[in-house]
């Protein structure tokens, strides 16, 4: 167990180093220091100011030294110009001049709330429909549910999102525009404020879960052990819920692991469509403004979150399925 964590942790750091090196090179070195200065300084910038910016950002130093300064800044903090940036320092935004770390910290609760709600709905409804379809396999219910899943799978967030907004907000005015409220302040508002994006994410991802659960359940129901249980005289409900469902969980957990990572790291299009200020929207705005430190920070944080989420899912996998051993 300990060996597993040490190994995975080392691998994680390795992957993050590779990603950070490549992104840092692409953002800060590939297009040349003049461009970076221009982006930081804006269009109306004197030569003197440009020289100052170039020095402050360390763009006059060799590439690996710049990278080293950036990376040590994350661990220990560093000074940029006359401002000191405390650890974990990801630099200052070019457009708002605020610390990148702070902006990401402010956006994180929104992204996390979005992800958690969407995952809960995905599991409840996506997996739930799959279980029902498997229990009623071959009947009309099964066909209807499978069709629903296929059609839902063809929807995109940027199609379903506007549709939901149109129906619930603009035409009928049943709801307000989605907005993030802190869960700790008002759980009710938190849920109603995010319900539309949650539904949106759920519908988009549902197809995969419904299909996978259904096929895994059907497989499990055809397995020998289920026949044995039937012969033993176990009730149908117990067979479905206690045994077949549990057997079907592993493949679902694999896909869920990938999705959790993706959702936690920022659901770019969802946040953009519903104007929620999470990490994903931060990234879009940073790209629009050519805000390099912001982009770099978001990319790194998102990669780190995805990798950690994947690690946690691997552990959860071992808990669900005792045959899986961590090594």
């Amino acid at each position: 167990m300990l060996r597993f964590f040490v190994r995975r942790f080392a691998g994680m750091i390795g992957i993050l180093l590779v990603i950070s090196l490549i992104t840092f090179y692409l953002f800060f070195a590939a297009s040349g220091p003049d461009d970076v200065v221009q982006m930081s300084c804006g269009r109306f910038c004197t030569e003197e100011a440009k020289a100052g910016v170039r020095h402050d950002l360390g763009l006059d130093k060799p590439f690996f030294e710049q990278y080293w300064v950036y990376m040590t800044g994350i661990v220990m903090g560093r000074d940029i110009g006359d401002r000191s940036c405390s650890a974990p320092c990801l630099g200052y935004s070019f457009s708002s001049r605020e610390p990148v770390t702070e902006r990401i910290q402010n956006g994180f609760p929104t992204t996390l709330s979005l992800a958690i709600g969407a995952i809960v709905l995905m599991i409840l409804i996506g997996v739930g429909l799959g279980v029902i379809a498997a229990m009623k396999r071959g009947t009309r219910t099964d066909k209807v549910l499978t069709t629903v899943a296929v059609v839902a799978g063809a929807f995109q967030i940027f199609i379903l999102g506007p549709l939901l907004l149109l129906i619930f907000v603009y035409e009928t005015e049943l709801m307000d525009l989605p907005k993030y409220y802190a869960f700790t302040d008002n759980p009710g508002k938190w849920a109603t404020g995010l319900i539309l994006p949650w539904i949106c994410l759920m519908v988009i991802h549902m197809a995969m879960y419904t299909r996978l659960t259904r096929s895994a359940m059907v497989d499990a129901l055809n397995d020998d052990y289920v026949r044995t249980l039937r012969a033993k005289g176990l009730s149908k409900r117990d067979i479905y819920i206690k045994h077949a469902f549990r057997g079907a969980l592993s493949p679902v957990a694999t896909i869920l692991g990938i999705d959790i990572g993706i959702l936690m790291a920022g659901t770019v299009i969802t946040e953009f469509t519903f104007s929620l200020n999470g990490i994903g929207r931060l990234a879009v705005l940073a790209v629009e403004d050519s805000d390099l430190p912001m982009m770099m920070g978001v990319v790194l944080v998102a990669a780190a979150i995805t990798i950690i989420a994947n690690l946690l899912v691997d552990v959860a996998y071992a808990v669900i399925d005792p045959r899986v051993r961590l090594y």
């Binding site: 990603i19 297009s31 995109q156 506007p162 603009y170 770019v268 879009v284 790209v287 629009e288 995805t306």
Partner: protein
């Protein structure tokens, strides 16, 4: 995912993956001799029997034909997607830039209406828009499949250091939140390809190439992983061993022994990938980082409709419905292709 077994030449019942073909089974006792069928023929027979597959295949074909013949259709229809008809005809748009007629300006002249503020024809924009998405998606799928196949087979067959490097690269790429990386790197890729000193508008070709390069770099790992796994299991099979013993070169083993067994998974992944990339390309345009004006593009049309959702909701309808239909049809086609090529798998 399983692969095809060697089908006995006319000897026994034509079986693929252990499943007995019902049709072949019925025919067997008749006076007709048992027909030997190649895996390809079997797959085609299975595909033809799948109603949803055939219908969705026709819909996909319809979209592809539209993309190919867009200029011809536009010519017959008498409009093009670039002209600002709103400037020519003062009766099209009102003072706020919105179409005067209801439903986004739909009438006999402009079938699907005109777009707000500029007064361009929506019908021709839709026709040309699919070209953008489909062209990018098809090129990316071709590149991704080629790169992924080569690297996947190499990693699986050679093992050792090659496998280690390719597998680590796959791990890194799969661990990355792709949506976010696409939007972060597409502008970088485009910026790297143009000469900055010119400071002119980015040529359309470069915009296309930027999107294609980024999608390819992050995309090859999926097919490579699938193929690596397949090769790892195929490598230990008897027919490869036999080829090795008989002195076949690695080249021959890879191309003549392994590759024919890999067509099914390659085709399956490629068919599933096309709609994925159409959607990804549109998403990039929706977020404003992909192909720019005035090249017609579904994603950007949806974005424009979205920006005016509360004031002019009809504009978003056509690109959204078109895209929905296309993706639905292509997804169903992907399922049918998988069922036909890989009958053992269940959805």
């Amino acid at each position: 995912m399983s692969q095809f077994q060697v089908v006995p030449d006319g000897g026994g019942l034509p079986t693929a993956g252990g499943e007995v073909e019902p049709e072949a089974f019925e025919k067997a006792p008749a006076e007709k001799a048992i027909v030997g069928r190649s895996p390809r023929q079997l797959a085609w027979i299975r595909f033809r029997r799948d109603k949803a597959g055939v219908v969705s295949g026709c819909v996909v074909l319809f979209f592809v034909l539209i993309a190919v013949f867009a200029p011809l259709i536009a010519k017959l229809y008498g409009k093009d997607p670039y002209t600002h008809y709103g400037n020519k005809d003062p009766n099209l748009l009102n003072d706020y830039g919105f179409p005067m007629k209801p439903n986004g300006g739909m009438d006999g002249e402009y079938w699907f209406g005109v777009d707000p503020t500029l007064g361009r024809d929506v019908f021709t924009q839709l026709l040309y828009g699919i070209r953008t998405s489909l062209l990018i998606a098809v090129i990316v799928v071709l590149l991704v499949t080629a790169i992924g196949t080569v690297l996947g087979i190499l990693a699986g067959y050679l093992g050792g250091k090659t496998d280690f490097i390719v597998s680590r690269a796959i791990d890194v790429l799969l661990a990355i939140p792709s949506q976010l990386f696409f939007i972060a790197f597409t502008p970088v890729a485009i910026a790297l390809m143009v000469d900055d000193s010119a400071r002119t508008e980015t040529p359309v070709v470069v915009q296309f190439m930027g999107v294609i390069v980024v999608l390819t770099i992050f995309g090859w790992c999926r097919i490579a992983r699938v193929l690596r796994g397949q090769v790892l299991s195929l490598r230990e099979r008897e027919f490869v061993e036999a080829a090795k013993v008989s002195g076949a070169s690695s080249r021959r083993i890879v191309f003549r022994e392994l590759l024919p067994n890999l067509w099914a998974p390659i085709l399956i992944v490629a068919t599933v990938d096309v709609p994925t990339y159409v959607v990804t390309e549109s998403a990039l345009s929706f977020l404003g980082v992909g192909v720019q004006e005035p090249t017609p593009d579904w994603g950007r049309m949806i974005r424009k409709g979205f920006d005016q959702l509360s004031t002019n909701p009809s504009y978003i309808m056509f690109p959204a419905i078109a895209m929905l239909l296309f993706v639905l049809a292509f997804n169903l086609l992907g399922d049918a292709v998988r069922d036909a090529l890989d009958p053992k798998s269940d959805r």
